[in-house]
């Protein structure tokens, strides 16, 4: 069995006076969609932020494709792409310019930048608004820009933190389809959500967090167990 793309080992983290993570461990592999589930405040976003090096682990260890987030944060960032619910884009740049900026900062060679950006625009179906300023785009179009900038450097690990929470039905479906497509390309996709219906449809394996601790982990069917669906299983675990 190939080593896990992302390994979190007994991770602890305190933010201010709150102990947000209490020794969580998990593994996510290449070619799967791994669900990080839990109610608001469970520690999902903090876990993702530690994995992508925005926050440092207080104790425990996090490795991405063998690189430790503490000792090799820049190597980790080269291999990770993150899409969040907060669709922040540079309003005075066009969609194409937004993605180009992140391609350059992510270390895509100068000679390949245009080709990579064109490829992303094509893959996400952004051609009709690629040259429009971002302040004139719809939420769904902005989310595509956010995805584009997260994948333009072709990261091996993709993390989605509540990516559909501000989107309409159509845009949400496109995001879900994109995650499935990425899994098909052999990427490790980590999907953080509190929408258990989405998780059940998409995820190969899930970990459920509650108050900073792992309360269940395994394949989706294992965690669901004898319950009618994942939601019932989840409620039994956290209540």
């Amino acid at each position: 069995m190939s080593p896990a793309a992302v390994t979190v080992d007994r991770l602890e983290k305190t933010l201010g006076k709150n102990k947000v993570l209490r020794g969580i461990s998990l593994e996510a592999n290449a070619g799967e969609i791994f669900g990080l589930l839990g109610p608001n405040g469970a520690g999902k976003t903090t876990t993702l932020r530690v994995i992508c090096t925005l926050l440092a682990p207080e104790s425990g260890a996090v490795k991405v494709l063998g690189f430790d987030t503490r000792s090799a944060p820049e190597e980790v960032r080269r291999r990770v792409g993150v899409v969040t619910a907060d669709i922040g884009v540079y309003p005075r740049l066009s969609a194409r310019e937004n993605i180009t900026y992140f391609a350059q900062l992510s270390g895509v060679p100068d000679g390949e930048v245009n080709q990579r950006v064109d490829g992303v625009i094509d893959r996400l179906g952004m051609a009709s608004f690629a040259n429009q300023r971002a302040d004139s785009l719809s939420s769904g179009q902005k989310q595509k820009v956010a995805i584009g900038r997260a994948i333009v450097h072709d990261p091996e690990v993709l993390m989605f933190d509540e990516p559909t929470s501000n989107l309409d039905v159509l845009a949400s479906r496109e995001i879900r389809e994109f995650m499935v497509e990425s899994r098909g390309r052999g990427r490790c996709v980590i999907f953080s959500t509190h929408v258990l219906h989405d998780a059940e449809r998409l995820c190969d394996r899930v970990t459920i967090l509650h108050e900073g601790s792992v309360v269940a982990t395994g394949s989706t069917s294992e965690v669901r167990g004898a319950h009618r669906d994942l939601e019932d299983a989840f409620l039994e675990l956290v209540l």
Binding site: R78, V82, L105
Partner: protein, 377 residues
């Protein structure tokens, strides 16, 4: 391409597309000549204006001619003391052996009229004394046992012009370097948090120090553009405007030395202010909060320039040149007024501004790499 250049190019592109910054620079470039024109017209008006002297009693023979020639209009009034409060600029009671003058020092017109009256009376008394001595066969030269011949080392009119520049130029330079890049600095720091692009930016493998430096360079560049636009338009306006002074009017111009010193100081100030405003912007959660943090900076620009206005001959020791901003004002004043540069003072000033800029840069970098930056946002 290095991350520094990538960030610089992107920030410049955003600045050029930001109407707020462009309008601010354009307004500054237009407003400065306008202010110069108004000042020039007011100065000309003050120099040529006639002031009214309300008097009673009999005016000594010949004095009325002298008064009128000096721009003092005579008007007979019943009570000169009462009239001097509002009706006229000065009140004068001519008596046989003395003159009583009444004026309100809080009124600028009264002050100018008083100065003119004293000058005229001085000349009148001297003329009367000389005539009396001649009548008695005495050489009037006895009144001046030590005659003084004044040899100004530079044109008094030009000196007045330089004094004018020595206040306005540092003030406009510092104000424009600060305000020209302020909007860009806040947009580039607090704005990143407000529109939630900061997290994505910090997720790139680009070193944060390079990202920050790219931002500072862009803010510094636009600050310089703003300062050059404002000062350039001011100097252009001054070539068309004559400022009145004793002995005539003159055009004010900047010597090449003063221009060179000004450009050097503008570069240093732009670097320091860019780092400082970016630090303040990084502390803020949004653009509006950043503006609130930056407001006290305006006092920093006004205070040092005011020292030159109120203490024109302020000649401090070298230690004063360690104080950022004040040192720039002092060096620029010396270059404009005396057309000289005290190299030790310029050296201390440059070192002080560089150290201040680097300190601010480190502060900004420290803030930029703190987890609290993301957690708070």
């Amino acid at each position: 391409m290095s991350p520094l250049l990538i960030v610089f190019k992107k920030e410049m592109l955003e600045i050029v597309r930001d109407r707020r910054t462009l309008i601010a620079i354009g307004l500054a470039a237009l407003a400065t000549p306008l202010i110069m024109t108004v000042i020039s017209q007011l100065a000309t008006k003050t120099a040529t204006q006639t002031y009214t002297v309300g008097y009673s009693g009999e005016i000594p023979v010949g004095l009325d001619v002298l008064l009128r020639a000096t721009g003092l209009k005579l008007e007979r009034v019943a009570d000169p003391a009462a009239a001097a409060k509002q009706q006229v600029d000065l009140g004068v009671v001519f008596q046989a052996a003395q003159i009583d003058e009444y004026y309100d020092p809080t009124r600028q017109g009264a002050q100018i009229a008083d100065t003119r009256l004293q000058t005229v009376l001085g000349r009148y008394e001297a003329a009367k004394a000389e005539a009396a001595l001649r009548e008695r066969g005495v050489d009037p030269g006895v009144l001046h046992p030590l005659p003084v011949t004044v040899h100004p080392l530079s044109s008094p009119v030009k000196a007045a012009g330089n004094a004018f520049l020595s206040f306005f130029l540092p003030y406009i330079l510092i104000t424009m370097v600060l305000t020209g890049g302020l909007s860009a600095a806040l947009d580039s720091s607090a704005g990143e948090r407000e529109r939630k692009t900061l997290e994505s930016l910090l997720l790139t493998p680009a070193p944060r120090s390079r990202i920050l430096l790219g931002k500072i360079l862009a803010i510094g560049a636009i600050s310089l553009v703003a300062a050059v636009a404002a000062i350039g338009s001011m100097l252009l306006a001054l070539t068309q405007i004559a400022l009145p002074g004793e002995g005539g009017s003159s055009h004010i111009s900047l010597t090449p030395l003063a221009a060179g010193v000004m450009v050097w100081l503008a570069i240093l100030l732009a670097g320091t202010f860019s780092s400082l405003t970016l630090t303040l912007g990084t502390l803020a959660k949004n653009f509006r909060q950043g503006q609130a943090y930056a407001t006290p900076l305006y006092f920093i620009t006004i205070f040092p320039a005011s020292i030159i206005l109120f203490i024109p001959d302020f000649n401090p020791n070298l230690a004063y040149y360690l104080i950022p901003i004040l040192n720039a004002v002092l060096v620029l004043r010396d270059a404009i007024v005396h057309n000289t540069v005290a190299w030790p003072a310029l050296g201390v000033t440059s070192a002080s501004l560089v150290v201040a800029g680097v300190a601010c840069w480190f502060a900004a970098l420290r803030l930029f790499t703190r987890e609290a930056l993301l957690v708070r946002s």
